[in-house]
Structure formats: C-alpha cells, structure tokens
C-alpha cells in the first residue's frame, strides 16, 4: 500500500475576484521509500498541493473543497488542527524554498533544532542537544557541535538549507516534502544539497516529494514524476518513461525547452519556448486547459470537452486527446496560429 494517497484533491481560494481553482482534482500516490517529483511552471498548483497535504494552506481564503489525503489509513483533511500538529514534523516534514528566511534570526540554530525534537519526543535538553549535533553532522556541516550555538546569519544559504533539512529530519519523518529545495541556491550548492537529500532518504528510509520547476532536478532525484498544469495533473509516469517517451504536448514542450549541451539534440540559436501564458484559474477553459497553447489542438473534441486522465500504457497516465504515441503518423503537427 502506498504511504500517501491523494485522491481528487481540490483546493480553492475564495477571493474577491472569484474562486481561484488552484488545485483542481489532483490524484497521486507516494510509495514507501520512493521519491515523487512534481513539476510544472509557477502558479500551476504544486506548492498549494503540498501545503494542502500538510494542512498549512491559509484559511481563509483557501479551502480544501473536496478530495482526500490518505496517510497510513487516516484522512489528513479530516484531522483537527491539533491532530495535524502532531503529524507535522513527526510523520511528514517539509522544507521550503528560501533558506535565508526560513530560520528565525533571533534564535540559535541549536535552539531551533532542539525545540523541534522536544516538541515531538519526551527527551531532556541534553539528549536533544546531542541529537542536534548528530543531525548537523549528518547534513555535513563542519564543526557541528560548536555551530549549534551560532545564529542563522552566520550560515551561508547552502548551509542554512542543510540546517532546514536537519530540522526536518529531527523527528524521523516517514515523508519529506521538499518545496523547491534548491531554487534559491547556487548551481554547485544545488547539486550537493540534492545529493544530500538523496543519501539521507536512503539512510532514513523515507519517502520524498520533490516539488520543482527544474526538469534537471527531478530527472536526478525522482522515481516517478507528475507534471502539473493549471491545477491539474496532465501526465504521470516513471521518470525514465517520462523523459524517454513524453506523451502530453505540454511535457514535450517543457522538455523541448531544456537547453542541451551535448548529444543529438543540440540546437543552435534560440531555445524553443511555449507560446502563450497559463490560463486564469478563476475561469479556466471548460475544455482542455492546455488547449489554447497546444500545437495539436484542432477543431476536434478536445476543444469542447475536458480530456480525462487515462492510462495510455502500463503506469503512464496522460490527460490529452493527442498523446504522442497516438499522434505519430496519423496526425500532422499543426502550427499554432495558422
């Protein structure tokens, strides 16, 4: 059985301008010991999905309208705030995008780690300190025991993200949600933080959800990937299958927009971009949400009816009327705007 099962999750923001359907019917599962990557561009609902799992969405204006988040047999969306607080950190931990602002500047790093430990475990301050030093060592911070007494401003961005990881791991969670864990870091630091996360995941036998807009990050870290667009899952597959045989036109376009530095696909000149902008989530198209930007959208069914997520082959799900494998030969790619 999967560790976490999200089923038809809908999180809407009720604003003055109207209802923003930020997450609109998202389903996925995270297996024990596996890493799931969630990719998509800004505003597609990746982070809101994660925050909905944790019960951290700002209420109001946001509300989980329907759907369930099953974690080890209990529905997290039905838990009270008090019960959720016991789940957070202990069962599911989360790290955020910006390590520079995610630590309280007025407390020492040690205090911030030990407080989390003592929140969930009944241990003495001394034991907590010992554990905190071990954790800092685990996340490869030199002179760990001394650095517990330092304030966050004496750490670099990469080191702060390591401290955040240490805090997240301090209570041995079974699931770690990393929301753009490397976006705010230098490229070299990014790689080492990703390595660290992967090593620790094996060591702690955790499951992980990595949220990112960087295809490179998920390619490296994830076992399975879901691609989100405008609040919906548009494609779900294993990492290898997704990169080798992308089915959804959006996924194809995302991969096509990646710069290649070696291999057969090296291009000269400009990178290809996806024309247009994501739809307004207050009033999304009734038909396929990617339709207006899709180069294969014609006058057929997909401009009138919303395509459903279907299993095109074992383990590969796609929400499109024109997945690549059904398109080849039978349809000619159409130019946008013609």
């Amino acid at each position: 059985m999967a560790l976490l099962e999200v089923d038809d999750l809908r999180t809407h923001f009720f604003t003055r301008e109207g209802t923003v359907r930020a997450v609109d019917g998202v389903s996925f599962a995270v297996e024990k010991g596996k890493t799931l990557g969630i990719v998509g561009e800004s505003g597609c609902g990746k982070s809101v999905t994660a925050l909905s799992i944790m019960g951290l969405i700002p209420k109001p204006p946001a509300k989980i309208v329907s759907g369930s988040v099953m974690y080890e047999g209990s529905d997290l969306t039905k838990l009270s705030e008090r019960e959720l607080e016991d789940v957070r950190g202990r069962e599911i931990a989360m790290i955020f995008q910006d390590p520079m602002t995610s630590l309280n500047p007025t407390l020492t790093v040690g205090t911030q780690i030990t407080e989390t430990i003592r929140r969930h475990y009944d241990v003495s301050q001394k034991q907590a300190n010992k554990k905190a030093a071990e954790l800092l060592e685990k996340v490869r911070i030199p002179r760990a025991a001394e650095r517990l007494l330092d304030y966050p401003h004496r750490f670099s961005g990469g080191m702060r993200q390591r401290v955040m990881i240490a805090i997240a791991l301090s209570c041995d969670p079974k699931l770690l949600i990393a929301d753009e864990p490397t976006t705010a870091l230098d490229v070299t630091v990014q790689a080492s933080v990703l390595d660290l996360l992967d090593d620790l995941r094996h060591e702690y036998d955790m499951s992980m959800i990595i949220i990112t807009h960087d295809m490179g990050v998920v390619a490296e870290a994830a076992d399975d990937i879901i691609v989100m667009y405008a609040g919906q899952v548009v494609e779900r597959a294993s990492t290898l299958d997704l990169f080798d045989n992308p089915e959804h036109p959006y996924t194809e376009a995302l991969l096509g927009a990646l710069p290649q530095i070696e291999g057969a696909n090296v291009r000269d000149g400009r990178l290809t971009a996806i024309p247009g902008r994501p739809p307004d989530l207050i009033d999304p198209p009734a038909a396929c949400r990617f339709g207006p930007r899709c180069r294969y959208a014609g006058s057929d069914d997909c401009t009138k009816h919303e395509p459903q997520l279907r299993e095109i082959r074992s383990g590969h799900w796609v929400r499109s009327a024109h997945p690549a494998s059904e398109r080849a030969g039978s349809r000619k790619p159409q130019e946008v705007g013609s």
Binding site: P60, T116, R140, A168, C171, T188
Partner: protein, 308 residues
C-alpha cells in the same frame, strides 16, 4: 581556487580561514549593531546619561539626605538656593532638593508602572488580534477605533473619580487605562507582518503549536519596537501624572510628586518662583531625555539605518 568547488569544500575552506586567523570576521548581531549605532548618536547618549543621573538622584538622595522631606520648619521657609539647600526651601521650610528627589520617585514609579501596564495590555490585545486575524481581529480593531475617540485625560479623571481614591496605584490604573491603544495597534501590525514570515511557516511545518509560534517566533521579534514604545509612552504618562496632580486630582499633600510640588509652588510663583521652577524643570528634563532616547533607539534598532 582550482579545486572542484563543491559546497562543502568551499565552506570548509571558509571555516579553516576563520580558524587560522583565530577570531571570526566580526561577531555582528542585532543588539551589538544597535548599541554601536546608538553610541554614535550624541544627543541620545547625553539624554541616556541624563536619564540615568535623574534616576540615581531620585533613588539615592532621599536616603543620604540630612533633611526630612516632610518636616515643616517655618524658620527655614522660602530660602533661596544655597549650599545647605541647593534648590532652596518651600513655604513650609522643607528642603526642595530632597523633596524633588522624593517626588521624582513617585512620578517615575507611576510613569514606569503605568507604562508597564500599557505594554501588558497592549501586547496581549494586539498580539491576540493580529495572531488570530479574521473576524476577531476586525471586531477588536473596530472596538479600538471607538475607544480612540475618548480623550485621554478626561478619561483618566473619570476613572479616578470612579475609583474614588487617589494614591500611586490608582494613578497608574487611571493613566494606563486610556493610553494602551497605540501600543496595541503597533503590536498587532508587527505580529500581522511577522506571521507571514517563512520561519513561522517552517515552524508550523514541523509541528509547532500556536503558543510556541507566538511566544518564540512572533513576540521576541517585536521586542525592538516595544522598547521604543516604552520610551515614547513614559513621557506621556509622566506628563499626565504631573497634570493630574497639578490640578489637584493626583497625589495630594503632604506626599510629593513633581506635579503636586508644582501645584504647591503655584501659590507663591510671584514671590518665590523657585518652588514652581524646580519641579517643572525636573519634569521637562525627564520627558526630554525620554524622547531623545526613544528617537535614538528608533534609529539604532532599525536595521535599515546604515551607519555612514
């Protein structure tokens, strides 16, 4: 650096460099920075020194003074300043230098007491309103708007009349009951903006309960603003006390406060003006010092104030 710059190696090098030179580059933290900025503000330093001097004078002089502040001796009445009586004596022959110190104790005690009460009410009300937010916040703030319409001193006078007794404690109540509104608003605004911080969300994401979020992550970060609020409220309260005592509603003779002393001196201001000048100058200097300190603190605690 020709090595492959992995994160750890780079950070390791930085660490090593620190170790060799012995001392870290510069221990910079908020309070040290603030202290350095404050020290550079000459006006604020002088005001701080003056404030401490006045406090020490009020605290120590009544203990070592040879005169009883309440002993009436008509043979010594209305003396001009001299070596025996640096501020002269009043119409009852009491030594003004001693009496000013004793009166200062009362005035300053009322000032600090009422300020503390203001902070307490303001912090509880403001943080509750800002932290919970939503409808409760809206209701609490509209209630505050309504209270804002009440004039401060008449409200204090009415409070005193209702209690029907005037001593130090009732004065504190009367002066704080109508002046915590601004502090509550400041705290509320600060809590509202702090609670959007990433580290608050991060703390919640590892299971911190609300009281921990409030007590550990929100209130300590309002401390800087609260310290400024203390020195802004203090002069207002001291002036309020002086005013109430001056019009005869506050501390009453023979007990002394600066306001009460000025009230006594009012009768003889033509013939023996020193009696009203001394407490007035005392009030003015303390208020001036507190204002300068508040100003210096505001500059010092604002990290955007860069020293040139």
């Amino acid at each position: 650096m020709a090595t492959t710059p992995t994160d750890i190696r780079e950070e390791g090098l930085v660490e090593a460099a620190l170790g060799v030179s012995g001392t870290p580059i510069r221990q910079s933290n908020l309070w040290k920075d603030a202290w350095r900025r404050y020290i550079r503000n000459r006006g604020a330093v002088v005001a701080g020194a003056g404030f401490i001097l006045i406090l020490l004078y009020c605290l120590i002089w009544p203990i070592i003074s040879p005169y009883d502040p309440n002993a009436v001796d008509y043979s010594q009445a209305k003396l001009d300043p001299s070596l025996e009586h640096p501020f002269g004596t009043d119409k009852f022959g009491r030594d003004l230098f001693t009496r000013t110190a004793v009166g200062g104790r009362v005035s300053i005690l009322i000032g600090f007491g009422a300020t503390l009460a203001i902070l307490l009410i303001g912090v509880v009300y403001g943080s509750l309103s800002g932290f919970v937010g939503g409808r409760l916040d809206n209701g609490m703030m509209r209630f505050l708007d309504a209270l804002y319409g009440l004039p401060y001193l008449p409200f204090a006078i009415i409070t005193l009349a209702i209690i029907g007794r005037t001593d130090m404690w009732t004065m504190m109540i009367a002066l704080s009951i109508a002046s915590w509104f601004t502090t509550a608003r400041i705290v509320r605004g600060q809590v509202m903006s702090l609670k959007e911080n990433d580290y608050v969300r991060a703390a919640k994401a590892v299971g911190a309960r609300w009281y921990r979020v409030l007590g550990r992550h929100l209130l300590p970060n309002t401390l800087g603003i609260l310290i400024i609020a203390i020195f802004l409220e203090l002069p207002a309260v001291i002036l309020g006390e002086a005013f109430l005592s001056f019009i005869g509603l506050g501390i009453s003779p023979p007990d002394a406060s600066w306001g009460a002393m000025a009230q006594e001196g009012r009768g003889t201001y033509r013939t023996h003006p020193i009696e009203i000048i001394v407490p007035s100058v005392a009030i003015a200097s303390l208020v001036l010092c507190a204002n300068f300190i508040a100003d210096g603190l505001r500059d010092a605690l604002d990290p955007r104030t860069r020293e040139s």
